[in-house]
Symmetry: C2
Subunit: 404 residues, 2 copies
């Protein structure tokens, strides 16, 4: 077993690192586009590869509903299903259970909820979350956690944090127990063809076989505690005692003032293990990512580039990113702006969306044409905008790494 | 001026031909995918090129609403706007005025209608249809015609056919008058950059400049008359007397029994000028296209491949198309079938959509994955299905040409 995470270089608190995962190497700091239901909205796996994505994030909750746990196993895992051969990180399902499902009930054992699709009763526990993530074939799994709502009081935050710690321990045990028996996560690497491994003609589940890989899947703990520093510290300490392959900061980017999130991340990053990857969950704007990188965070995911794209809001460079130094000097958000492409002023603007961008959209269409596609409701608009925004975030991380 | 249409070879009544147009050469028989509002739904111009499309069809009515006549001129034509350098055929706007607009009123002069988008009052006449198609920069323009509804009686068909003939004459005159003054249809070819040619900083329309091209745009007449053979014959004779660059069969594929359409096409194709391209408008299923080719038709368009794709219905080969001879032997529809990809039976089918297809979809995803994308409502599903269906139709025409 080789090193899973190496810090290659440190500039101030910022780290240039490398994650070695079952499906390949990820250079950090890294941004992970979100393939919610097994696809980054509007894009194919081949598109993601062209855009330079090293790793994608997918949502256990959505995949648990469709194609389902048994379905995912039968299909040989998400890599094979979506024809994506690079690493995948999966969340635990916890967050969506609370935000999307109907009638969820949380007990110490886990959460019982009704599918928002067909009302089916599903139970998600730390153990079943891990088993589902193993069926997906994740390179990095997240612990199942109890998530306090954005405006929750200290008492609720404390209870959620404490329960998340107990669940973290159960996740760790389930992961240890299961990781010696899992579906081969990349059949290509070991030369086992689909048909040899899975009998797809009948409805039997594939038998589990010992994992032949030198790299195991990885399990990350999630630090909770809202904006309460003492709760965050207790959460971190508890997770540390259990021991994880990486540590995530959860429960931020949920509506709190930016300064509050900055305060918690700055406080935490100094105390998080230096030899493990640090992952800020679910945020944020480009300048926030730069800020967190400068404070020692290594991994990011966010719906903003894809969601904003579908609403016609594009991230564009204000100057050549190759001359931008995100690590030195004062922090600011001058390096980019948000362009609302549906604005009337672009109706006859034949220049590219972003002259500094190297994506397919910027190389092939004008602002006027993209605006027209949005105006007339063409689906192509969503794709072209998404391609650009995802490329913006990935290019931003490339530039951050160059400057580290 | 070189030859615009050549019949290279004839097999029975079927013709292997070549159209030489301002934006390039089109090998016939040809299928033209439909870029209704300036994009083939879900696909970019680059996608269309990869799929082997030689020519696309766009709709004057939709472009007249957005970006509008002045807008289209200011944007330098549709080729430049959508970054598509191959030929474009445009319809006249007539059909959509009747099917989509609110409160249309037809007079001898033309049609006054309200935009279905914003209620704006717009007048479309034979002259303004031609001017709009010139602003679009079409390689092939269609005459403006009066379209009788599918179930109309003989009297209405006769009146619509007679009016269409009068309008055909006005279109021909407008085309002759305007074709010496038009926006250069491909700036790339004459090395005039956009900025030299069009002042985009203010709101002035570009001045019209003499057309420097060796190939003029082409104008096709449309044969009307419903399923009445005598009306069709009178229509054809009238158009012949005016003289067009090609002749289209309009007003079929509107719900009539297939045998009726076959009867009209067989009757007409024998009488249409042999030295001009013949275009069957708006149809149809693969076996219908084969039938029309075998009866001497050269050009086709149809919404079926793109529309069916978006509903999860895929055209798939039943056997290797390279071994299929569409020209010899009995006609049948055994060479393909329609696959409803959302069917439960494909949930775990990891085979490609169509093992005989060379498209990106068939090369990269399984039936199970494409079904999943439809099930969970991912936009990517529409794109992947469209890529396949468009490729099916284009491949079909490639094979037809190989066998001629």
């Amino acid at each position: 077993m080789t090193i899973m995470f190496e810090v290659l270089k440190q500039t101030g608190k910022a780290r240039r690192g490398r994650l070695t995962l079952p499906h390949g190497v990820v250079e950090t700091p890294v941004f992970m586009p979100i393939a919610t239901k097994g696809a980054v909205k509007t894009l194919s796996s081949q598109d993601m590869e062209k855009l330079g994505s090293q790793i994608i994030l997918s949502n256990t909750y959505h995949l648990l509903l469709r194609p389902g746990f048994a379905g995912m196993k039968k299909l040989g895992g998400l890599h094979h299903f979506m024809n994506w051969q690079k690493p995948i990180l999966t969340d635990s399902g916890g967050y969506q259970v609370f935000s999307l499902s109907k009638m969820n009930k949380t007990k110490e054992e886990g959460v019982v909820f009704q599918s928002h699709i067909d009302g089916a009763r599903i139970e998600l526990t730390p153990e079943s979350s891990i088993e589902t993530q193993l069926a997906i074939g994740s390179d990095i799994m997240m612990q199942f956690d109890d998530v306090a709502a954005g405006g929750a009081d200290r008492e609720r935050h404390e209870a959620a944090m404490e329960r998340s710690l107990r669940w973290a321990k159960r996740c760790k045990e389930a992961h240890l127990e299961n990781s010696k028996f899992q579906i081969p996560i990349s059949k290509m690497e070991v030369g086992i063809s689909k048909s040899e491994n899975l009998n797809l003609k009948n409805n039997e589940l594939p038998s589990l076989s010992p994992n032949p890989f030198p790299f195991q899947s990885n399990l990350f703990g999630i630090i909770q505690g809202g904006t309460h520093e003492d709760l965050r510290e207790r959460s971190l300490k508890g997770l540390n005692d259990i021991g994880f392959d990486g540590y995530a900061i959860g429960g931020l980017s949920v509506g709190e003032p930016r300064a509050e999130a900055y305060r918690i991340v700055e406080m935490l990053a100094d105390k998080m293990p230096a030899d493990k990857p640090r992952y800020f969950m679910g945020g944020g704007m480009p300048e926030e990512i730069v800020h967190y990188v400068r404070n020692g965070v290594d991994m990011f995911d966010c719906v903003l580039p894809t969601r904003n794209a579908r609403h016609g809001t594009l991230f564009v460079w204000n100057a050549d990113p190759d001359k931008w130094n995100p690590i030195e000097g004062e922090e600011n958000s001058d390096f980019y702006e948000q362009m609302h492409i549906t604005n009337e002023k672009f109706a006859f603007d034949e220049s590219p969306i972003d002259p500094f961008c190297d994506c397919e959209t910027c190389k092939t269409v004008s602002k006027a044409y993209l605006r027209h596609l949005f105006q007339v409701g063409e689906i192509l608009a969503l794709r072209l905008a998404t391609i650009h925004n995802v490329r913006f975030y990935i290019r931003m991380m490339e530039r951050i790494r160059e400057c580290l």
